[in-house]
């Protein structure tokens, strides 16, 4: 369960942004997690609940959006469905993951005085 260390990195990053803006309380965080990122969203929520006390995020809501995995052919752009062989049916090129490995912090809503 590396979700705890992901949350530690998240809290550290948020603290940095808050300090840089002389901000106060954080109200909300927007995070994006890809299907092939290796991060479990439920575990991320649990880890966040356990780690956020006495941080700037103590009262923050965590909004997580999930991003589906999408593979395509880098040459002809053909879509390759999940679960299929990861090579283009038409030209044989190895597929490229165009989305789905995100572990992203998108946005922070914070108080600024």
């Amino acid at each position: 369960v590396h979700e705890y260390s992901i949350v530690q990195s998240l809290l550290e990053r948020v603290r940095h942004e808050v300090n840089a803006r002389n901000g106060g309380r954080v109200h909300r965080l927007w995070v994006r997690i890809g299907e092939l990122s290796g991060v479990e969203v439920d575990l991320l929520h649990t880890a966040f609940e356990m780690c956020r006390a006495s941080t700037v995020c103590a009262h923050a809501a965590l909004e997580v959006s999930r991003q589906d995995a999408r593979w395509e052919c880098p040459r002809c752009g053909a879509n390759i469905a999940p679960g299929e062989r990861l090579a283009c049916e038409a030209c044989g090129s190895p597929a490229r993951l165009v989305q789905g490995d995100e572990i992203m912090l998108d946005r922070i809503e914070m108080e600024v005085r």
Binding site: L86, M104, L105, R107, E111
Partner: protein, 241 residues
């Protein structure tokens, strides 16, 4: 409204767009490690796999086979330095990275270990990750390549169950192949098919650390990886010798 005298009063709520990887700090440390390795012409290989898949045994056999080539290993383990001890016994410098509760190595742990380990003269630095088919895949360490070790008894559907791990792999080494004659229901075609669905460029080598079968192909693969290094660095390394 904010009080003009001391700044007390209602705070303004602002939204700050970040759009950055949460592990950006690890990524930066990994880039730093990668520059270190490249600067010294060291090929770093991140060896991942489940507990008991045969990671250490593969490296022991590699140590015996590489002979005069200079290799060393960092061995990540939750609680002991047994793996590092085994590798030292096999004749190579090795250092344990004891992670405590962490189920994976990160770039910072590797960097700290490099300060206590004579790595810069090596041809190959193997970083044996914590036995785990999930978490290690998430952290870049600065390696030249990821190798996943899978043993014949783990089940041919493992790649489909752990797609994140296998997607990051440049090579899968199937170990303990000397057991295959006793395992009538292991279907290697099913394993190969599963790999094509999780790896864009599937690559599988079969190795037995016990009989040594397949080791030559593994050593060839390592040689190819080394040849991928920029020519200027290889020339420098040759000069070192």
């Amino acid at each position: 409204m904010m009080c003009q005298t001391c700044g007390c009063g209602d705070a303004e709520i602002v939204a700050v767009d970040v759009h950055e990887r949460i592990l950006a700090a690890n990524d930066a440390q990994a880039r730093h490690n990668r520059e270190h390795f490249a600067g010294h012409g060291v090929v770093a290989v991140n060896v991942m796999g489940g507990p008991g898949s045969g990671k250490t045994a593969l490296l022991e056999a590699t140590a015996r086979a590489l002979g005069s080539r200079r290799m060393g290993a960092l061995a990540g383990d939750l609680a002991t330095d047994r793996d590092a001890g085994r590798l030292e016994t096999a004749g190579i410098p090795a250092l344990a990275i004891t992670t405590g509760n962490a189920c994976h190595l990160d770039a910072q742990m590797v960097h700290r270990a490099l300060h206590h380990f004579p790595w810069s003269n090596l041809d190959f630095l193997f970083i044996e990750n914590v036995g785990n088919l999930v978490c290690p895949a998430v952290y870049d360490l600065g390696q030249a390549a990821n190798v996943v070790v899978l043993s014949v008894t783990e089940g041919e559907d493992k790649p489909l169950k752990y797609p994140v791990m296998f997607r990051t792999a440049e090579l899968v080494v199937l170990t303990k192949t000397d057991l295959l004659p006793h395992l009538t229901n292991v279907d290697l075609h099913a394993l190969e098919d599963a790999l094509t669905r999780v790896m864009p460029v599937p690559a599988l080598l079969q190795v037995s650390a016990v009989t040594g079968e397949g080791l030559d192909r593994w050593l060839d693969w390592l040689e190819c990886l080394q040849r991928r290094m920029p020519v200027s660095l290889r020339a420098r390394r040759a000069g070192d010798d």
